[in-house]
Symmetry: C2
Subunit: 347 residues, 2 copies
């Protein structure tokens, strides 16, 4: 036990004896200092050991402020995307599909089994961040490690457009994809808000009577925007990316919802009917604020009779499975997702 923890535990006991002894239902946990895990790569140790995200609890007050913040973050992330694309030999081209901005990602080498396959990507960022190339981190990793062609939706975001604009644009791209490619050869993926959008797309496809893709990969999905789920509590201030349910990401989601009920399955897909969903692979980490969102989605899929595979990486916070192409844990995560698509997509 760290010295700090012992000291604070002592304070707690001295100051709140009733709380320490009462044996009430909530769990009172003393302050602690949690070391960086020792069983991860140096790259992953740097990611996990990084301080809490700057300004995690500074919440923009207007669409313009949100936009400024998104644009500022996007510059740095786009550079990371370019570096990854170069190292992983993935070509990125921008375009427009039926009025929606898209990126096409093409790996230098596409093996024969992937020639007639296509992955549709929806990016993360709390429905407000990661415009343009900045949204492509996981798209590049899957194109590069999995050698798949990827069509990525650069959907509209506030203040330009609100719920359900992101989903509408993602569906436009999906509809274009199933015209180009047999849906049995298509996978859909994304992480965080992109993971939620992946699930929302399946709900919408069911509503519209569209064919399902062959498989989906909702990574650490924001499947419940209503703050339900135990890891919102247990991993608060442990996750260095999202940090807290009272941080920027939930605020951004509320901003996107624009007054719409957060329990609508098209914002919180955990409340939707997942019967008939295609096989799914879900990815998260033990420190992820959305660990519970992810495992609850996994259970919901299983309860609906859907083949669903859960991958959890030790020590990782939100979406840290997609941060650094040189981290062996990130390569492993995307090889795992690629293998799942390979097993389920037609050729």
């Amino acid at each position: 036990m760290s010295k700090i923890r012992k000291t604070v535990a002592g304070f707690l006991l001295a100051l709140f004896p009733a709380v320490s002894l009462a044996q009430t239902a909530p769990r009172d946990v003393p302050a602690r200092s949690i070391p960086v895990p020792t069983d991860v790569s140096p790259q992953m140790a740097a990611i996990i050991g990084a301080p809490l995200r700057a300004e995690w609890n500074v919440l923009p007050k207007s669409g313009e402020e949100w936009r400024a913040r998104a644009d500022a973050g996007a510059v740095a992330t786009a550079k990371i995307v370019d570096g990854m694309a170069e190292r992983l030999h993935v070509k990125i081209e921008s375009g427009v599909t039926d009025g929606v901005k898209v990126f096409t990602l093409t790996p230098d080498v596409i093996p024969p089994e992937n020639q007639n396959r296509l992955l549709v990507h929806v990016h993360g960022g709390c429905y407000l961040l990661n415009p343009g190339k900045a949204g492509l981190v996981d798209a590049v990793l899957l194109a590069g490690f999995g050698h798949f062609k990827v069509l990525a939706a650069d959907y509209r975001m506030p203040p330009d457009a609100y719920f359900p604009a992101a989903l509408d644009d993602a569906m436009t791209v999906y509809k274009a994809a199933i015209k180009m490619t047999n849906p049995k050869n298509i996978g859909v993926f994304g992480m965080s808000a992109g993971g939620a959008l992946t699930l929302e797309m399946m709900l919408r496809a069911k509503l519209e009577g569209l064919p399902m893709p062959a498989a989906i990969a909702p990574g650490t999905p924001m499947a419940d925007a209503t703050k339900v789920g135990d890891s919102f509590q247990t991993n608060e201030l442990v996750d260095n990316v999202l940090v807290s349910r009272d941080g920027f990401c939930d605020a951004a989601t509320v901003f996107y919802a624009h007054g719409h009920d957060l329990k609508d399955p098209l914002i919180s897909p955990i409340y939707g009917d997942m019967h008939g969903f295609p096989p799914a692979i879900l990815t998260t980490g033990t420190r992820d604020l959305l660990l519970s969102n992810t495992v609850r989605t996994h259970r919901k899929l299983r309860e609906a009779g859907v083949e669903a595979s859960l991958q959890v990486y030790d020590g990782q916070a939100h979406a840290e499975f997609a941060r650094d192409d040189t981290a062996p844990e990130n390569a492993e995560a995307f090889h795992e997702i690629a293998a799942f698509f390979d097993a389920h997509l037609g050729k």
Copy 2:
């Protein structure tokens, strides 16, 4: 934020400003009060909301003290087992197989596909607890919900015998099982120390050139007795069953090891070679002190090319997937494990 947490966070900031601002690699997390999750059944809420296990940090000093503690706990647990067996219509008979005490569990109804199948069970309890019937909680749940015959090893424990006695006895029972039943129709399962033993048995079977079973279900395995794994930190004092890596369970394991290297794969199977292992299903909860042990084992299996399925239940601490046959989450966990065995065992 709870009042207590705010107050203690205030103390922390006032008393340790350097720690709050230093942005060093360890994560400093303030004290918090974690409510019982709202998305679980009333039965599970009672299990999760129960106080920390009594005497979790009172460590017996001798074999006799350990034995007294194990016997005291076993009386209450055996009654729970009897109640479960009655409700789930499972008959329990004690016996001896090649010198090792065993229990045979027979469900009232055995469907045709399970007539020629057999599950071998190794119980949990830190290699020291749950003698006799008290070790059968998960065995009854799987026999009852899955309608499988189960042969359970009531292996020797300290102070009667030390490492590798538990494993030796488990292997004796496994060898008897593969004489009675085609190994392709056999599954092996257990949780906690029983999950570790399940993995250790596969390592030993490889060493001895024995046929593998068709599938295994190591539930929240104590796969690393060296205290490596992030959830030993993040879930300390959050998990109300094991509570801490400095609690009774690690102490019991050290007592069983009896001076033997804890990093021996036959005590910490995470350090063993898992190539050639049969398909495995692993089960844990987000508050489990062994969450990291479980997900690290899952990854190790996947890296070895083994088909491995991970199930994580929201809010549950160590082995709370096997506590109450009337809790829908527990029924779900065992139906999931049963389905996995059904998919992999011959008939």
